[in-house]
C-alpha cells in the first residue's frame, strides 16, 4: 500500500524533536533540546491530530531514548508543535523556537530562508518511489486535454497550495487563464483518496490527486484504472520535506536515528501512522526546483494578468 510520505516525515521529525542530543562525548550531559514544528494541514489527511501527538510525544520519545543510547547521546527534552498556519511556523522558526520543520516543499521554499535551513530527510513511497501530483479524469467524459475540462466538474484538495498552483499553471499554460477564470465546477475534498472515489462514482469529472493515492486506490479497486486516466503530472518527491535548523548541532546524528526507524518495531509503528514506509536524505538545494516552479507560475500568472 503506497502512502503519502508528507505526514510520515513530519512524524519522524516530530519524534526527533523530542531528543536533545550532544554532539560529542563532552556534550553528552548537556541539556540539548529538539523542538519540532510541522504544518498540520499537510499531514491531516494521513492521521488525526491525536494520533500524531501520541506518536510524537510518547512513541517517538521512547524510540529516541533507546536509539540515542546506541548513538551515544542523551535526550533531555523534546517537544512537538503543530501549526495550522505556515506563517506562525515561519515566525517560530525565525525566533529560534524550532530546531526542525516539517512542511510541504513549496511552502518551505516560499516561507523559509535557505540560509537558515540545514539538510534533512523526506518520506518516500514504497520502494523509495517519489510522490507526484496528478490531474485525473473519467474516461467516459471525453476529457483528453486541459481544454476539454471546460464546463466539467473538478475537485481539488483543501488547503493544498501546491495542487492549486499545479492546476492553475496547467490552465495558464494551455488556456492562458487561471482555473478560477474558466467555466469549471470546482469542489474541494479533504483527502486525495476521496477525489478519486468521487471521480470513479461520477460525482466529479476530474480532480487533482497525489500519485500515491491514485496507486493505492487502484490497488483497492483495479477497475479505477479502467475508468480514470491521468492527464498531467507534477513530480514532487515527497509531500512534506523535513529540514533542521542550520546551526542545530545534531543534524547528522538525528538523521541517522530517523533512518533507522524502519529497523525497529516502534519506528515502524510511527511510520505506519503517517503511511510512510521509506525515508531518504534531502538536501536544502532540492528546494530550488520548487522555487523555480513557483517562479514560473508567478510569471505565467503575471503574464496573464497583463
Amino acid at each position: 500500500m503506497k502512502i503519502p510520505h508528507r505526514i510520515l516525515i513530519n512524524l519522524i521529525l516530530a519524534s526527533c524533536s523530542m531528543l536533545s542530543i550532544p554532539t560529542s562525548a563532552d556534550e553528552l550531559k548537556k541539556d540539548i533540546r529538539l523542538n519540532m514544528g510541522y504544518y498540520f494541514n499537510s499531514i491531516s489527511e494521513r492521521a488525526n491530530r491525536t494520533d500524531i501527538e501520541i506518536s510524537l510525544n510518547f512513541w517517538a520519545k521512547e524510540l529516541f531514548d533507546s536509539e540515542a543510547k546506541k548513538h551515544d547521546f542523551i535526550i533531555s527534552s523534546s517537544r512537538a508543535i503543530l501549526f495550522d498556519r505556515i506563517e506562525d511556523m515561519q515566525i517560530a522558526f525565525q525566533q529560534g523556537e524550532l530546531d526542525l520543520i516539517v512542511a510541504p516543499p513549496l511552502l518551505i521554499s516560499r516561507y523559509f530562508k535557505r540560509s537558515e535551513l540545514g539538510d534533512g530527510f523526506v518520506g518516500m513511497l514504497e520502494g523509495k518511489k517519489p510522490e507526484a501530483l496528478l490531474l485525473i479524469a473519467r474516461n467516459d467524459k471525453n476529457i483528453n486535454s486541459i481544454k476539454e475540462l471546460r464546463g466539467k466538474r473538478l475537485e481539488l484538495v483543501e488547503d493544498d497550495e501546491l495542487a492549486d498552483i499545479f492546476i492553475d499553471t496547467l490552465f495558464l499554460k494551455e488556456l492562458k487563464k487561471g482555473y478560477k477564470n474558466i467555466d469549471l465546477a470546482i469542489q474541494r475534498q479533504k483527502k486525495s483518496n476521496r477525489i478519486i472515489l468521487d471521480v470513479f462514482f461520477d460525482k466529479t469529472d476530474a480532480g487533482i490527486v497525489y500519485s500515491s493515492s491514485y496507486t493505492l486506490m487502484a490497488e483497492l479497486n483495479p477497475d479505477i484504472k479502467n475508468k480514470i486516466k491521468p492527464l498531467a503530472e507534477l513530480p514532487i518527491k515527497g509531500r512534506n520535506f523535513i529540514f533542521f535548523r542550520r546551526d542545530y548541532p545534531l543534524i547528522k546524528e538525528l538523521t541517522s536515528v530517523a533512518m533507522s526507524f524502519p529497523d525497529s518495531v516502534r519506528g515502524k509503528q510511527i511510520l505506519e501512522v503517517f503511511k510512510t514506509p521509506e525515508i531518504i536524505n534531502c538536501k536544502v538545494e532540492e528546494l530550488a526546483k520548487f522555487d523555480n516552479y513557483y517562479n514560473e507560475y508567478l510569471r505565467l500568472k503575471n503574464k496573464t494578468n497583463k
Binding site: R194, L197, F201, K203, E219, L220, P222, D223
Partner: protein, 521 residues
Amino acid sequence: MAIKQKNSIFIRVFLIFGSLVLAITLFFAFMVVPMQKNAFKQIMFTQAETVSRSIVQASSDAIISKDFGFIVEHNVEVLKNNTSIHYILISPKVGDKIWINQENWHLIENLNNDIAQLENNNITYKIMPIENYEKVYHFVYPIQFSGISWGWLHIGFSTNQYDKYINDMYFQIIYIIGISLILILCVGYLFARWISQPVSIISHLATQVAGGDLTVRSTIERGDEIGVLSDSFNQMVDSLMQSKKHLENYNQELENKVLKRTQELADLNKDLDNKIKDEVAQRQKQEALLIHQSRLAAMGEMIGAIAHQWRQPLNALGLVQQNLQFKYQMDKLDDDFMNQSMDKSARLIQKMSSTIDDFRNFFKPNKHIEPFNINNIIKSTADLLEAQLKNNNIKLQIICNENLIIKGFQGEFSQVILNLLNNAKDALIENNPKQPTIIIDAIKNNDTVTITIKDNAGGIPDGIIDKIYDPYFTTKEEGKGTGIGLYMSKIIVENNMSGTLRAFNDAEGANFVIELKNNQD
C-alpha cells in the same frame, strides 16, 4: 486391629472431598458452556448491530445523496480499524452493490442466493462460508430512512473472536478443572489430613493405651470437637491411670490379705490335721476300747453261759459221785458200776472240757479273712446259749442251707450272731411271751446272703429304734447291758464285712437283718 489403607479416614475424606469438588466443577462447567455460547452469540449480535447502526448513521447522508465515494472511503476506514470485519457489502435495492473487504473493493451487480435470501425486513445473521472465508458471521442490517427501505448493509464478521471466546472458555474450564484438581490434591490433602490426622493420632494413642501404656497423652490443641476429644482422651487416660493405681494398690492389699489368710489356713490346716489325727487316734483308741469292752462283756456273758452249760454235767457228776458213795456204802460197788460211773464221769468231764474249748475258740483271735460255713457258725454260736435258752424255754429255730459259705472274719461274725441272739433272748425273758421263739433264717440270693434273726418279744419301741446303734445305749437293767453290743455288731458288719445291718419290727417282734455280699462264688 489393622485398618486397611482404603478404609482409612484420610483416604475416604480425600476421595469424598476430591470427588465433590470435581463433580461441582464439572457440573458448573457443563452448565456454563451452553450459556456462555449463547452469551457469546449475543455479544456478537450486539456488536454487529452496533457496528451496523454506526455505519448506517455515519453514512446516512451519503446513502441518501448516493455519495458512494464517502461510503467506500468510510467503510474502507471502518475495515482498517476493525480487523475482525472481513467485508462490508452495501446493497441498495436499486443499482450496483459495493463489496469492500480488507484488501480491495469492487462493484457487483447481483448477490448470490445465500446472501440474497438473508435480505428481509428484519435483522438476520448466519454463520456460513463466503468466498475465501471458511466461517463468517454474516450479519444483515436493513437500512431504512423514514420507514422507507433503502437497502441492506451486510457485514461479514470474523468468527475468530467468537472462536477465541469459545476456545478461551474451554481453556478456562480446563484451567479451572486443572486448578480444581490441584486444589483437590492440595486442599483435599490438607483437609483430609486436618480431619484424619488427629483421629489417627488419638487412635494410635488409644491403641497404645489398650496395650497397657498409660503414659501416652494427646498433644492436640484445637478449639473444635477434636480438641474436646483430645482433652477427653487425656482425662480418660488419667482416670485409667488412677484406676490402675488403685487397682494395683487394691491387688497388693488383697495379695497381702490372701497371703496372710493362706498362712492362717495353712496353720489352721496343720492344727486340723493334728486334731483329726488326734481325733482318729482317739476314736480308734475308743473303738479298740469299745471292742475290748465288748469282748469283756461277751466274756462275762460267756462265763454265765459256761456256768449254765456246766450246771447240768456238774449235777450229773455229783450224782455219779453220790451213786458211787451210795454203792460203796451199800457195798455194792462193783467193777461194772465203777466202770460205768467212770465212763459217765469221763463223758461229763469231756463235755465240760468241750464247752471250755468252744468258748475258747469263740474268743480266739481270728483276724484273717477265710471262707466259713454260715450254718456251722450259727449252730456253734447257738450252742453257747443252749443252756440259757432251755432254762428260759426259748425255742431256737435255725433255717439255713448247710453248704452256705462266705468269706470274712469268722470270729467277728460269730460275735455278731451271739450279740443278736443274746439280745433276742434277753428281750424274750423280759417280755415273757407264751412261746418264746427265736428264728434264724439264712438264705442266699443272687449276690447276697441274708441272715435274719427274728424274735416274738414284741419288738423294739418306736421311740428308741433310731438309737439302738448308738454306743452305750441300752434298755437293760444296770449291770445287765453295756450298750455296745449293737454298736459293735453294726461296726463289724458294715466296716469289716462290707455288709449292712438293719432292724425293723413286725407283728411279733424285732427283726435284725444282716446282708452280706456273696463273695464265695
